[in-house]
Amino acid sequence: MVETIQIQVNGEQRGCQADATVGDLLRELAIKAERVAVELNLEVLDRKDFDHRSLKQGDRVEILSFIGGGAPVDVQGKGRGFVHAE
């Protein structure tokens, strides 16, 4: 049996395989790597390193992408009820 570790992804705790890479995590979440930026413990990763950076117990991962925006009020959800997808 493969050992699992606990990591934090976008503020939420989740388990993942001990030997998983950032690339593996994105595939598991069905997220296209070419559309996102990933920050691992506050370090912004280069997209080509996703498959080389392995995850460790307690790692904090942030996955971000572009959403509709122009002014800060937009993204605080005070617009016309449009919930931004990503």
């Binding site: 939420e12 572009f66 993204v75 449009f82």
Partner: protein, 257 residues
């Protein structure tokens, strides 16, 4: 007007109207409005991906980055550290070094913290970013941003989303005369005449979001803004007549009975 292209950091742009992508009903409406506006440059924000619901669509499925210049912003950042962090993430998520830099100073007015802005701009320019700073209508700060290496400056017309229009045309005019880079009037436009006025003053471009997205008919307003920016630019290039207090007859006196 065929050769009247705006060039920013070596990029030639067809339209002098830049648009934001926030506040629309859905992505389909966003796409239609942007098409109607004729804009080349569209601003986007950088936020966490929803990892629990992956069925949601992605904005870039609707806005082809090959067709549009995607200009990510650091909206919602209230200090230098956050703004720099979001700028780096935007570069990692995207395809270019372009960043619309916002460092905000106050939640109620969303006015820029120009001290923080200068500091963040310095860091990002050093890291190779093409920094387009959202700033106040302060000519001295605008010049300092240029000195740091910003290839354009984006002074506000009025508070973001306020629709108040051009509140300080004289300061904007001074910025346009003083600063030798393109000036993009950003934020506060309410309707087409505001955009036309900004262009008549000599702005190189206008950026807006709420004025279009918040209109009763966003797609019609997007089209109105396209013509307003074109009309304002043409009028600026044509050279308006001076304002005079008294009348000057247009019809000749000669030949009257």
């Amino acid at each position: 007007m065929q050769n009247d292209r705006l060039i920013i950091a070596g990029r030639e742009l067809t339209s002098r109207l830049f648009v934001g992508t926030g506040k629309y009903k859905d992505f389909a409406e966003t796409k239609k409005a942007i098409e109607a506006s004729g804009a080349d440059v569209v601003t986007v924000a950088v936020r966490r991906v929803n990892i629990t619901d992956r069925s949601k669509e992605n904005l870039l499925d609707y806005l082809d980055p090959k067709k549009y210049t995607i200009l990510p912003n650091t909206a919602g950042c209230y200090n230098v550290e956050d703004a720099v962090r979001y700028a780096r993430l935007a570069r990692a998520a995207g395809v270019s070094d372009l960043i619309k830099l916002e460092v905000l100073g106050d939640e109620r007015t969303l006015f820029p913290d120009t001290v923080g802005l200068l500091e963040a701009a310095k860091i990002l320019v050093k890291e190779g970013f093409i920094v387009l700073p959202y700033t106040n209508d302060d000519p001295i700060v605008a010049q300092k941003l240029v000195d740091i290496g910003c290839p354009a400056v984006m002074p506000l017309a009025a508070p973001i989303g306020s629709g108040l229009g051009i509140r300080n045309p004289y300061n904007l005019k001074i910025i346009m005369e003083m600063v030798k880079v393109p000036i993009i009037v950003d934020a506060g436009v309410g309707t087409a005449s505001d955009a036309a006025l900004a262009m008549e003053l000599g702005a190189d471009a206008v950026l807006m979001n709420t004025a279009i997205a918040g209109a009763q008919d966003p797609i019609a307003m997007a089209e109105a803004m396209k013509y307003a920016v074109l009309a304002g630019r043409l009028a600026y290039k044509a050279g308006r007549i001076p304002r005079k207090l008294y009348a000057t007859a247009s019809s000749p006196i000669e030949g009257m009975l």
